[in-house]
Symmetry: C2
Subunit: 317 residues, 2 copies
């Protein structure tokens, strides 16, 4: 009997793969190994034309996106990116100019975050598939994993939420090229990750999958839940606009749909005030949006607590 991957869904596929290896795979943004007093961080992220690249978007933005989502995983571990490699599978009828623009986009992001391109692989295939490989490092004591949070810790996010999902809906409902490009507009929060880690954060991950999916993943690792205060969510201006004009709920845009690649992290209350000051001094925005608690994940909204059911997008289904 044949069973297709679509019947299994992304998480089951990954869990089935894990079972084959002795190694207990890390539930973190990067893989890592110890070298003297630091961890070498290594991560790979792939994008395919059919699933991740809207038609007609500027290829420079696609390249930037690939590098940014890769480095974002290093940021989420509190690390500094050092090196980057790419594995490209390219259709032979691809326009050479588009490939050049993709590379210019990658180079732009790597320049901005002081990361050196050190090689890669280039092969032929029927679909454009590109993998970014990021290599970074983090002091042994400063690594930010997903499993360190405790009851009472404050849950925070960097910057604003909902811009990328707003872009997605503008693209899908209004066929907006600008929207499609907003969906791809990502910055790895490297400096933020470093400062967060130095100030005693207990766990972190990036928000590629959205908050609902992320807190569900954290709950699976630690058993602990969250109370999220809806009124505290830092809503991006574009998400407000899409909410008003297209009627997509703020909850969908900022909590359910992912793609923001902001950092989600936990920190003990006594350390939060110092970190908040450090963020202001360094000109970046941090917002407290909830607390770590025992039991189920809850959303406080309009004075009532609602149970959060994960509705995040799952590939292959």
């Amino acid at each position: 009997m044949m069973m297709m991957l679509s019947e299994l869904g992304e998480r089951n596929i990954i869990n089935n793969i894990r079972k084959i290896y002795d190694y207990k795979w890390v539930d973190d943004d990067c893989s890592y190994f110890l070298e003297k007093n630091k961890y070498i961080l290594i991560t790979v992220d792939s994008i395919s034309k059919s699933m991740h690249i809207p038609d007609h978007v500027d290829p420079v933005k696609v390249g930037y996106f690939l590098a940014a989502i890769t480095l974002s995983d290093i940021a989420a571990m509190g690390g500094i990116p050092r090196y980057f490699m790419s594995a490209l599978t390219l259709p032979k009828n691809m326009d050479t100019k588009d490939l050049k623009k993709i590379e210019i986009g990658i180079a732009k992001c790597l320049d901005k975050y002081n990361t050196m391109m050190i090689g890669g692989d280039c092969k032929e295939g029927t679909e454009l598939v590109m993998s970014g490989i990021g290599i970074g490092e983090v002091n042994k004591k400063r690594i930010l994993k997903r499993d360190g949070m405790k009851v009472g810790d404050i849950l925070c996010v960097t910057n604003y939420l909902g811009k990328n999902s707003a872009g997605y809906y503008l693209w899908k409902l209004k066929n907006s090229k600008d929207g499609a490009e907003k969906l791809l507009e990502v910055e790895p929060r490297i400096e933020e990750g470093l400062i967060i880690s130095r100030h005693g954060a207990t766990a972190a991950m990036d928000l590629s999958d959205g908050i609902y999916s992320s807190i569900s993943q954290l709950k699976k690792i630690t058993g602990l839940g969250f109370l999220i205060d809806f009124s505290k969510i830092p809503v991006s201006p574009l998400a407000k606009k899409v909410n008003e004009e297209l009627g997509i709920s703020i909850e969908e845009l900022t909590l359910n749909y992912g793609g923001d690649y902001e950092l989600l992290f936990t920190i003990p209350p006594e350390k939060w005030i110092t970190l908040k000051k450090a963020s202001e001094k360094n000109n970046f925005k941090l917002t407290e949006i909830g607390r770590v608690k025992k039991g189920r994940n809850l959303l406080l909204k309009d004075g009532k607590e609602h149970e959060i059911k994960e509705r995040g997008y799952e590939h292959f289904t």
Copy 2:
């Protein structure tokens, strides 16, 4: 004006990419960076269904092949493989059993070469594309690059040549499934690479592209050429059989077509004898096939010297 990648060819594509980055890309099997007294080696190799995976071959062999060609790059640098990651882009109608078999194949190869799977990425796409990422290490003084050879050095290969290309022709001309699987039958020459490097080899690379293409690449890096003695080539039994039965020349099978993933390396004559003894003690085969010289690449065959023109396969064309 649109120009397609197929008009440019693989090497021009890669050279154009390199120009975009400040970094002078290494012309080696792996990228690497220094950590104290050793190099961390890192390499990525991708395969796509359309270009690299014959229909009906056992998926276990495909997985083994992916891991083996990745680790082969580490062997060619004189390194020890430590970690492996995979980036999978999978079509949703793929059979879950096939994916499991691929993973079993990867695990089999990693087990054999004491390499730990530490994570990866899994995404959806229209074509099956898989990248293997290999991480290894090598003592600072023992790294085997491509640029260290000198005039008078002996040119050698590990094991026998021509098995994989023989498999390719059996598959293509006789529609042989066994042939297709022989094409994928690769072992990374880890122990060989270590011993070769310890005994003072001056340059090495793996033979994924075949000897003609490899010596042409070495000539571009160093300016030096080779004289290859055709009578000394260690021809695999399968290549002899395919030569007799299908009329494909031994030169095509062992020198022009790649896919063997044996190691090609150079070593000063005074060190060759000690290395040869070490290889016999460790039960692997090394063969002297030529010499490093000034000027053009030549093949000594039937008492005459013929100029070697590279005819290796180039992707995208």
